[in-house]
């Protein structure tokens, strides 16, 4: 399976994602500079973490106008999997591919720590390798991960199973104490209507090897590979 890893000026998880996909998952990955417009030949697109354009004005506000984003929107419209991680999630929201906004963390501080996530919907392109309701542990590293959307949007997301992950405690309890940034209803990851676009704040590419402390992150990338396998002609 070929993954396109988009690189905006200021992106810095591109290499981490490439290592996770190639070394740890054994799939193919290639970097796509933000000025390029052609994503043909790729089976999935990754918008990695980073500070695109220095996070100036708003996280992802400028990156979303990069030439490559037109191709990403077409790629998503064609139903192919697109995953936005941290800054990538912010870019997807600014581009309108996902609803809502990532605002500044409620305590106004940058957070780099491990969090627990409860898998809210296990049959999606990105979570089919996980058991429903299973709890995984992934690192977060952001200053603006406070997910916001109006009540109607939140209700629609929940009703249609488009909340992929919620911040929870080790036992899976969705509590205020387990919410690192003030996100509405502890939401840590959401999907688009068709279910082929996922935005999540935690970094799966940072936990794909035992030496790093665990492999929970692999399940998300593996889900993408497994889905592609089932769909292949």
């Amino acid at each position: 399976m070929r993954f396109a890893i988009v690189v905006f000026p200021g992106t810095w998880s591109d290499r981490d994602c490439s290592h996770a996909i190639t070394d740890d998952l054994g799939e193919e990955a290639a970097y796509v500079w933000h000025r390029e417009r052609d994503l043909s030949g790729f089976d999935a697109v990754v918008l990695p973490g980073g500070f695109s354009y220095g996070d100036y004005l708003r996280c992802g506000a400028i990156a979303r106008f990069s030439p490559v984003m037109e191709a990403v929107v077409e790629f998503a419209k064609a139903g192919k999997p697109v995953i936005g991680i941290c800054n990538g999630f912010q870019v997807l929201c600014e581009a309108g591919l996902l609803p809502g906004v990532l605002m500044r963390n409620a305590d106004l501080r940058f957070h780099c720590e491990d969090v627990y996530l409860r898998t809210e919907n296990a049959n999606t392109a990105f979570t089919n390798a996980l058991m429903p309701g299973s709890v995984i542990r992934l690192p977060i590293s952001h200053g603006e991960g406070n997910y916001y959307a109006d009540a109607a949007t939140l209700d629609a997301l929940e009703a249609s199973g488009r909340v992929a992950f919620r911040y929870c405690d080790a036992e899976g309890g969705v509590t205020a104490a387990a919410n690192p940034n003030g996100s509405a209803r502890n939401i840590a990851g959401v999907l688009n209507e068709a279910g082929n676009v996922l935005g999540m704040m935690p970094h799966p590419e940072r936990l794909t090897e035992p030496v790093l402390g665990g492999v929970d992150g692999l399940a998300i990338f593996r889900s993408m590979v497994q889905l592609a396998a089932t769909k292949a002609p």
């Binding site: 600014e94 500044r104 003030g182």
Partner: protein
Amino acid sequence: MAVATKTFLARVEVTLKLTVNDPQGNTVKGALASLGFDGVSAVRVGKHMEIRLTAEGAAEAERRVEEMCRQLLANPVIEQYRFTIESAEG
């Protein structure tokens, strides 16, 4: 005959919609209270932008700044904007 363009200064205020929680505003309000400023009932923090641009007239400048706000400077999901235009010939 080249069109004479004038220089304008736009002052743009981008603030969070009232329905949206503003942790930064609350923090500043708390800090003001701890410094002894009583009587402060609310604080909201947003972005202030100054844009120097050339245009044929104020109306055109206004139209372009409106478009800048709509496309880039404000995120309609959570933000609202207002701006003033003044001549910057001086």
